[in-house]
Symmetry: C2
Subunit: 147 residues, 2 copies
């Protein structure tokens, strides 16, 4: 098992919450961790089935929600109505190529700071934000087509 640390984190989350450690949960976490990047529910389900044919769609959905609660995954929603998951790591936002679907992560202190100022100006208490830039990546510029 190559993702030992995360498997342990999952195990202790399950234990703490009186949930059960099942082979499905272990398998889904394992497949998910090997992806790196931003995977859709559908694609993740397919990958899971490759190695574990018995696992159902429902279990993948439920398990990914569990992994989010456990702090191992993050759910993302870009502009195409499909849920994507990524491995939880330090905060960042996204650049999305609307032609090839490439997703690049970025991080900008100046923007974070500006957000804080805005939130303060309006008297809000900030919980989270969502900042996505949509455009064409280097490879896709000059191309006519779509997707």
């Amino acid at each position: 098992m190559s993702n030992d640390l995360e498997q342990k984190a999952l195990a202790s989350y399950l234990e703490d919450h009186n949930l059960k450690h099942t082979k499905q949960r272990e398998a889904i976490l394992d497949v998910f961790l090997d992806i790196h990047g931003h995977i859709t529910s559908e694609a993740l389900y397919q990958k899971v089935r490759d190695n574990h044919p018995g696992i159902g769609y429902t279990t993948v959905y439920r398990t990914m929600k569990l992994l989010c609660d456990a702090g191992l995954a993050i759910e993302r929603h870009f502009d195409d109505g499909v849920t994507r998951y990524e491995i939880e790591h330090e905060h960042h936002d996204h650049l999305v190529c609307v032609r090839c679907g490439k997703i690049v992560e970025f991080e900008c202190q100046m923007i974070e700071k500006a957000q804080d100022d805005i939130v303060e100006r309006y008297g809000f208490r900030l919980l989270r934000h969502r900042h996505e830039l949509y455009g064409h990546c280097t490879d896709c510029q000059g191309r006519e087509g779509r997707s």
Copy 2:
């Protein structure tokens, strides 16, 4: 008719595109313009029905898409999976209260500039962006509850 300017814009858009000017389209635009703010498809449909009981859900959806194409409305998607529409006006982003649903518009040159820098750094060509800050508004801070 209080929204004369926009009705004329609609009329000329329809004419230019060989589409027909119907009482439904006129009525929906009129109701929409009187809203100000960010209205969901559902709420808009209800409002439309108040004054025009015959109009169907489908027509509201189709007409709002038309109004977007005509540059009179903008479609927004926040984090709750429901489409909202607002009157097209100068560019801005949004602050959303996750308790009461209040939506506040903001605009920040510094952020816009920072975005351009990021996009350039990654070689992207920017088409649009989406920037939403989620939190609790002044009125909702200190409240326990939800929604």
